[in-house]
Amino acid sequence: MRKVVVRLTELVAVLLIVSFGVFLMVALIPGDPAVAILGEGKPPEQYEELRQELGLNDPVVVRYFDWLGGAVTGDLGNSIMPPQSPVAERLLAAIPVSLQLAAMGLVIALVVAIPLALWSAARQGGLVDRIVGASMFGLLSIPSFLAGLLLIMVLVNDLGWFPRSQWVRVSDSLTGNLHHAILPAIVIALSEIALFTRILRNDLVVTLQEDFVLAARAKGQPPWRIMVGDALRPSSFSLVTLFGISTGRLIGSTVIVEYLFALPGMGSLIVSGAQTGNFPIVQGAVLVTAVIYVLVNSCVDLSYGFLDPRTRRVHA
């Protein structure tokens, strides 16, 4: 319980720092929101009037506390660019896209990475291990936009298996949604597969040297049972940590994948907000991303106690 309270306190502190940092950065972005809103060719006094109206002439700290006052009550303000809908509404439209892509990407990555790591670790130093290792280095070295383009060229343009772009909401069609989401999710998964496989394989190799594994072998347990039943759980610390970091990171950083496939997720929202000086959108989106990131990583920290009961005593 105490640990949860400490975590929550840390979470609030982190969010305050992140939100102020973002506020400062948004204030430093070149470009004038008044120009973005009014467009070209208006008299200079009209731009000035709008800046005044939006509070853009106030000091950053004043503007931050105004915004923070609303944010703590759940009011993230309105988009300053038309349609001037509430920021929360825009976020609610974008978050499911990013969450789904991140979730699908991570599930695909885990489904592929865990068996590969187990197989590779079980055959440490052998041909399989070397092939898997080299393949994972290859995957890590391919940037996601290049991987995306290659997959589009083959799976979309040549074979026609997947749609090129657009997003179908689950509420409109579940099959349509999965059909449109699967290729972007695979692109996201590729680099994660490589990371997860490398990390888990290395931890498994260390675990397989432990006495309890030798004991299990001596008792004549089949190798697959030793790998899955005995070695996997204690080898998962790094994987779980990485999983938590990846989850938070993927929510707001799938910009390239969203651009390639024209998907309306958080990445697109943040980029277009930054381009047009739509600061309430950028602030709201980064805050929500930070909240998700911190929450997921807090859950990961708490899960260590389940993975290894000894850690509970250490922190007690």
Binding site: P30, Q166, P264, V271, A274, Q275
Partner: protein, 533 residues
């Protein structure tokens, strides 16, 4: 070396991250092309298949790369590339540009007629036309909408104020306009923003609501994703054949073209020269408009700027080879020209051309300016996309070659560019698109180069240029139009207000099962009679 098409978005995508940031023969273009042809670029309706009987119902999905922020013809530039087709679905237009007939014809209005000297125009509305909120679209509604447009500074407000001296409601369905001078193409204004009649109720709430008398009604909007319109059952010409019209926004032109190839979208609008050329060579049906002065460079002629000296402005144009720039930026796709009226324009004439590419002449002009104190330094503002960077570097290299000391400044977003050019006026040269269309060239020419135009942003004007523009405005016959266009080009060459690199191709394309698409000016299409077989 030409990179494969699939690799090009890689560069654009990388630029986005940093930000957080052939010709076919003319016969290929189809027999309905209405303008002169250059390579694959034949302006007009191209490759249109025969249509059968109208099929009622269904959804037409239209892919576009630029989502309009607001469906308000006052605030959003009314062109096919900026949301004009979406707005035409909501408001319709009083008059429209018929590409086949090469003339302005009535659409929502019954007629718009001029007196003999084109100084008094009478607009007659159709009886019984209603906005989608049930109120009448009558003469008072038109007056209110136009006054709103002028008061809020719509894009054509300056040209209207300069020319229109009176607006009088003369009957329930008639409005009379009195002009300060003869203007035979005054009706072209009613094909765009001014011709989109906005209902009073649109301004009644806290936020603008798009309410018009068009064939469709906005029913749903997911920003950065799609806009959905449903058929207006009370449309004056009867319920449109389509049930639903859906606009989806795909920024990457290659992705948009691929989506079109996969049949995910039934229609699309493209402007990337390489993709447009590919679409045209594949004989895709559509409506192509060549936009004059689509690729230009503003030259700031304000006091203290290098461009204040006419020799510098002329040297800039003469230093630049548009072919070379296009080769660097677009792999040679598209049409290049330094003329106001390039070979794809109906106003093009043999021998009527812009300043020639003449590096030696440019060098002499730069030296003469330097002798009078010019230090040779000039800064060129550009965007950050790979294409814009290529243009920037090609221009810089050619300017340096004739004695300039050029610097290229790449700005991260269009907002930054507008701030520097429009608001601050802080630039020597800047990338820009003046974009005038054959369907209605005068209003744009006025805006850019007339001293009362208001959208030249520091480019040079002169009393002589004002006179030439007014002559161009008053030209009624084709012969007069060609003669005044020639004079305008000569005046432009003398004044050299901007660097001209060529026109832009704007292509509305559709699948072979799409029929009934009507054309309008500014590359807009009207979909009130569109249907999918």
């Amino acid at each position: 070396m030409t990179p494969p098409r699939i690799v090009r978005p890689l560069l654009a995508a990388a630029a986005t991250l940093v930000l957080v940031t052939s010709c076919a023969s003319s016969e290929d273009a189809g027999e309905r092309a209405s303008g002169p042809t250059v390579g694959a670029f034949a302006p007009g309706l191209v490759n249109i298949p025969d249509a059968g009987d109208v099929v009622e119902g269904g959804t037409l999905t239209f892919g576009s790369y630029a989502e309009p922020l607001e469906l308000d013809p006052v605030k959003t530039i009314v062109a096919g590339t900026t949301g004009g087709t979406e707005m035409a679905a909501v408001y319709d237009v009083l008059m429209r540009w018929d590409e086949d007939e090469q003339s302005i014809v009535p659409q929502l209005a019954e007629s718009l007629t001029a007196d003999e000297d084109h100084t008094t125009w009478t607009l007659t509305l159709r009886p019984g036309v209603e906005f989608s909120d049930g109120t009448a679209l009558d003469a008072e509604a038109v007056r209110w909408s136009i006054e709103r447009y002028l008061a809020q500074g719509g894009h054509d407000a300056a040209v209207w104020k300069h020319n229109v001296t009176g607006l009088e409601v003369t009957g329930e369905l008639t409005v009379e306009f009195t002009l300060a001078r003869p203007w035979p193409s005054f009706d072209s204004l009613f094909t765009t923003g001014i011709g989109m009649v906005v209902a009073r109720a649109a301004d009644a709430g806290e936020q603008f609501t798009p309410i018009g008398a068009g064939p469709f009604v906005l029913s749903d909007r997911a920003p950065q994703e799609r806009m959905t319109f449903t058929a207006n059952p009370d449309y004056f010409a009867g319920r449109p054949p389509l049930d639903t019209l859906e606009f989806v926004y795909i920024v990457d032109p290659n992705a948009l073209w691929d989506s079109f190839g996969q049949g995910e979208v039934s229609m699309a609008i493209l402007r990337d020269p390489i993709v447009v050329e590919e679409a045209l060579t594949e004989e895709t049906p559509g409506y192509l408009q060549m936009v004059g002065l689509g690729v230009t460079g503003l030259i700031n002629s304000r006091e203290g700027r290098p461009g204040a000296d006419v020799r510098v402005r002329q040297a800039i144009q003469m230093a630049i080879d548009p072919e070379l720039v296009n080769e660097r930026a677009n792999d040679g796709a598209g049409v290049v020209s330094s003329s106001l009226f390039p070979a794809t324009s109906r106003l093009h004439q043999e021998g009527v051309v812009g300043l020639p590419h003449d590096p030696d002449g440019a060098r002499e002009l730069v030296e003469a300016a330097k002798a009078d104190g010019f230090d040779g330094k000039i800064t060129y503002l550009q965007g950050s996309s790979p294409q814009q960077r290529a243009i920037g570097l090609a221009v810089k290299a050619q300017l340096d070659a004739v004695g300039f000391d050029a610097t290229t400044e790449f700005l991260p977003s269009i907002t930054d560019l507008i701030t520097r050019v429009v608001v601050d006026g802080d630039y020597d040269m800047s990338t820009w698109g003046f974009s005038w269309r054959d369907s209605a060239p005068y209003a744009r020419v006025f805006g850019i180069n007339h001293s009362a135009g208001g959208i030249g942003y520091g480019t040079a004007t002169s009393p002589e240029m004002d006179r030439l523009i007014e002559d161009f405005q008053a030209a009624a016959t084709e012969e007069e139009q060609l003669a005044t266009a020639e004079a305008l080009q000569a005046g432009w060459n003398e004044l050299a207000p901007a660097m001209v690199l060529g026109p832009t191709a704007e292509f509305n394309l559709w699948q072979e099962d799409v029929h009934g698409v009507a054309t309008n000016s500014n590359t807009m299409v009207l979909l009130d009679e569109a249907w999918v077989s």
